[in-house]
């Protein structure tokens, strides 16, 4: 039997390890800051991680699943690592942490603009100069979760992490 404090320490190690795994499509942000990690359960013999896809058809999911399995396996604190893709808690843009939003901005991605409604507002703040004088070029971009904008002030095209 494992006592509660030990489980707690193991859980902390799991979260710390997850925070080191980079998003396969935008490596500047970790899976934890992206908000795709749902509930984490650490039992005597297994680690169970809930993985919440940003988009249902996200092709990076299998890569994330493999990396989580590999990294948590290295911790050698449980016999089994289970990664379950789940929609029980839908991933929404609100799940991106403040650190995550800042990291996105630093590498040239506008973080999603938050509004009350799911309405897809053609608003983005240029990650280069901070201007809101931007136009939506295409709500569909190079990956499912990205839209393409243009900044009228610094004349820079940029991508926004889409609001869902």
């Amino acid at each position: 039997m494992v006592n509660a404090a030990a489980v707690d320490r193991r859980e902390q190690r799991v979260w710390a390890a997850l925070a080191e795994i980079a998003d396969p499509e935008i490596p500047a942000i970790s899976l934890v800051d992206l908000g795709v990690i749902g509930e984490v359960t650490v039992d005597a013999d297994r680690i169970h991680v809930e993985l919440l896809p940003t988009f249902v058809g996200c092709p990076a999911i299998e890569v994330m699943r493999a990396r989580i399995g590999e990294r948590l396996g290295e911790l050698a604190i449980a016999d089994r690592v289970e990664v379950e893709v789940s929609f029980a808690t839908p991933w929404t843009s609100e799940r991106i942490s403040d650190v995550g939003r800042e990291r996105l901005r630093q590498c040239g991605f506008a973080p999603p603009v938050m509004t009350d409604e799911l309405g897809v507002l053609p608003i983005a703040e240029c990650p280069y100069c901070g201007s809101r004088n931007t136009t939506l070029d295409n709500p569909f971009g190079p990956t499912l979760c990205r839209a393409i904008y243009h900044c009228a002030d610094c004349r820079q095209p940029f991508e926004q992490f889409k609001r869902v």
Binding site: V56, G57, F87, N138, P139, F140, L144, I148
Partner: protein
């Protein structure tokens, strides 16, 4: 139950009896095949859409739809102890259960816009219902899918408006395509053999005829501004079993890789 897969959330739900499983399987297969087939028709535009932005948009939408199909096929595979890839790629053309609307080849751009608008408007009504399904795994997936479909609807609405306001030749093509597709569009709501069980269990919260009425009520006023008066139309009994040469061709395309190396995993 398959022992090799990790426990999917479906298995944590209360056990479903045989009739419920059969009914849910029929429902899931129709929705999954719809998303799968329209996704492949959309992908036919990759590289040849009228403008670069639309190459990207149709490809992205296609990827979304096929991703939705995959998630639905996986739910179905868990329910019927089957394999999602086998369901997706291992059937003969006449075993697919997509609506007749999706039987047609992609046609010209106006035809694709017309079909996409008809499909998206109908799918929105259906997804809203499925989001309150009593079967949690389906309700959860539909809730997530709805958020993504919002973008598809905006895209379809924008193009419908754009072509409707364009030169008479363009508007004529759009109007012709909508009129031609109108009868088959009804079949997104074609009655299901197990529908009584689906509604009784709350798996499908409203019968197809009620969803069909909601859709027509919302879609007709928009469509008739473009096409003029459309004939009365109802879903048909064989609305999900009629197949065409066009679809047989598409089936040949999307199963090509799977057939080249049977049983391979990717």
């Amino acid at each position: 139950m398959s022992a090799t897969r990790e426990p999917p959330s479906a298995l944590k739900e209360p056990v479903l009896d045989m009739a419920a499983r059969e009914a849910l399987a029929e429902l899931l297969l129709g929705v999954a095949d719809d998303e799968f087939v329209i996704g492949f028709w959309d992908s036919e535009w990759t590289g040849i859409a009228p403008m670069l932005e639309e190459d990207v948009a149709t490809s992205s939408i296609a990827q979304d739809e096929i991703g939705h199909a995959r998630a639905l096929y996986e739910l179905l595979a868990d329910l019927t102890d089957d394999d999602a890839d086998r369901i997706a790629f291992g059937r003969e053309p006449d075993a697919y259960r997509h609506a007749a609307l999706l039987n047609h080849a992609r046609g010209d751009w106006a035809f694709s816009v017309a079909r996409r608008w008809l499909y998206e408007s109908a799918d929105a009504v259906r997804l809203t219902a499925l989001a309150s399904s009593s079967w949690e795994p389906l309700a959860q997936l539909a809730t997530k899918m709805r958020r993504e479909e919002t973008y598809h609807r905006l895209h379809a609405d924008a193009w419908l408006r754009r072509l409707a306001d364009a030169a008479p030749d363009v508007r004529g093509r759009l109007s012709g395509a909508l009129t031609r597709l109108w009868p088959d569009a009804q079949d997104v709501f074609a009655p299901l053999a197990t529908e009584e069980e689906l509604v009784r269990g709350g798996y499908l919260p409203e019968p197809m005829r009620a969803l069909h009425a909601s859709w027509q009520h919302a879609a007709l006023p928009v469509l008739e501004l473009i096409t003029g008066s459309l004939p009365a139309a109802e879903p048909s009994i064989d609305g999900r079993t009629r197949r065409t040469e066009d679809f047989a061709w598409l089936h040949g395309q999307f199963t090509m890789v799977a057939r080249s190396e049977e049983g391979a995993s990717w």
